[in-house]
Symmetry: C2
Subunit: 303 residues, 2 copies
């Protein structure tokens, strides 16, 4: 492979594994060249907080500025203070539901506009840069290289489906229909005037984590991945299912082992089958571990 193609990937076993896979995949018909990427912690930084949580909190702060009594709702109070004991006491799910409820009754178009406004203004709380610069440069290079080799590239995230779709094309070149994420309810109403689609306050189906990523990939994309990249316990099933493809396949796990340039942490698989750091799962399952510290020459996109 032309070494100019993945310039931010340092030579080594990880890069070798990617190159071997890319070459092997050339033997497949193009419709089998399907790659899926988790987003938070895989394509962009997920610390100190998931980007979608930052968005929901920004929306809440704006709402409270206009209507201060909102802050007396226990779930909102706990979220605004990021009071972990209170969140645990109320139930994290209930806090998330209360945050999502903020957008009940609006159209997908209005929701999209709000998300876009957030992304155009927001800065990373510690680094102070636009969120687009928190994307991982080596992963953007990998996506570009996959496309150059006639892969279709999709996003499979535990974050909200429409939240992600609002920036999927600008940030990753993925059209809305190429995104798989956690879903809310919708209601089709005729009302007095023209027919409208509105978000409800309900969650639709399971959060897009674990085995739900597989069934949702089937429902929304209808294609079986031969490359998957993730970084957390919620990606376990997606990585295993991808690796089980009979033919060339690659399961990539991003290991956050770079406290200096990014963060050092390991997702603990507690709610799933094991209770071990995800890097140990990777070793047992034979996934390819991407060491941020060792394998990446540059970490962040500068645009």
């Amino acid at each position: 492979m032309n070494q100019a193609k993945l310039p931010s990937w340092r030579p080594g076993t990880t890069r070798d594994a990617i190159e071997i896979f890319l070459d092997d995949a050339e033997t497949l018909p193009v419709e089998r060249r399907v790659a899926v990427f988790d987003i938070d912690g895989t394509l962009w930084c997920e610390k100190p907080q998931y980007t979608m949580v930052e968005f929901l909190l920004a929306e809440l702060r704006a709402a409270v500025a206009g209507e201060p009594s909102l802050a007396t709702r226990p779930e909102y109070r706990a979220a605004l203070d990021w009071d972990r004991p209170a969140i645990a006491r109320l139930g994290a799910v209930n806090v998330v539901l209360a945050l999502i409820e903020q957008h009940a009754g609006i159209t997908p178009e209005v929701f999209e506009a709000r998300v876009r406004a957030f992304f155009s203004d927001a800065r990373h709380p510690l680094r102070g840069v636009p969120l687009s610069q928190m994307r991982y440069r080596p992963m953007l290079e990998l996506i570009a290289e996959l496309r150059a080799r006639d892969f279709d590239v999709y996003l499979v995230t535990g974050s909200g489906l429409e939240f992600t779709r609002a920036v999927s094309a600008d940030y990753f070149g993925v059209k809305p229909e190429g995104v798989v994420g956690s879903q809310v309810g919708y209601e089709f109403v005729r009302g007095n005037g023209s027919p409208t689609l509105l978000r409800t306050k309900e969650i639709f189906g399971d959060p897009n984590e674990g085995a739900a990523k597989i069934t949702n990939i089937q429902r929304l994309l209808g294609r079986r991945p031969i490359l998957a990249a993730g970084n957390s316990a919620g990606d376990t099933e997606m990585l295993d299912y991808t690796q089980a493809y009979v033919g060339p396949s690659l399961a990539l796990l991003v290991d956050h082992d770079d406290a200096e340039r990014e963060y050092e942490y390991a997702s603990i698989a507690g709610t799933f089958e094991t209770s071990e750091p995800i890097t140990e799962t990777a070793g047992r399952q034979g996934w390819t571990v991407v060491s941020m510290k060792r394998d990446w020459d540059m970490v962040f996109a500068d645009r």
Copy 2:
């Protein structure tokens, strides 16, 4: 517009309406150029039977040939004989569920292979031609013209999601992720060996008709159509929602008024808000009616 572009469309008010819409849509950013097409009765012939029903019956006949006792199940007996009173007595939904149950426990890949085998062998029961020749030539020309103008084209069908995906690329140039259809359940199993995804015997959510077409378009595609084409009561909401777009929009209703070249019938909107022929709904709602007899110079694709 270059008249060579839609050669099977006769000059007239319908063709004029399409041309005006196509020119108006050029003013929109490309990401807004979204077109959705119903399939049965809109892109291919749905008589004497929906193609998916033909498939399910062909599968049943093959299964019964190997295991004759299957035919004693009342739902299968009624389906094999196409015994309408018996189907009504058992409940059409239960007959459909029994037919779909044939594929419970198999992977999406195996299901896809069976559907493809059906399409490669099947002939239309009356015309005796391959099913690809039952596609409507004027609609294929319209799809090609939309793509030439940077539209993304999607399929939104009451038939099965995976059934349709098996031929969507070959027949209509639409990738699997561009198809919206009725869904079955899926189960992710680890079993002894490698992780696998299996179809269940359950239906997932509502059949993709009526308002469900709108919510499913949002879930699976995340884009709002500005052109929709349909032919039946189940397309009412999709046509209305499309027409309500603030900007250039076109709602096309195919009127089966050509007993000589195809069939003459009108979908009756009985299960939805009205109980009138769909062509009357079209007149009231201001949709553009495509008369097969008057507007189409050729009806079928010859390949």
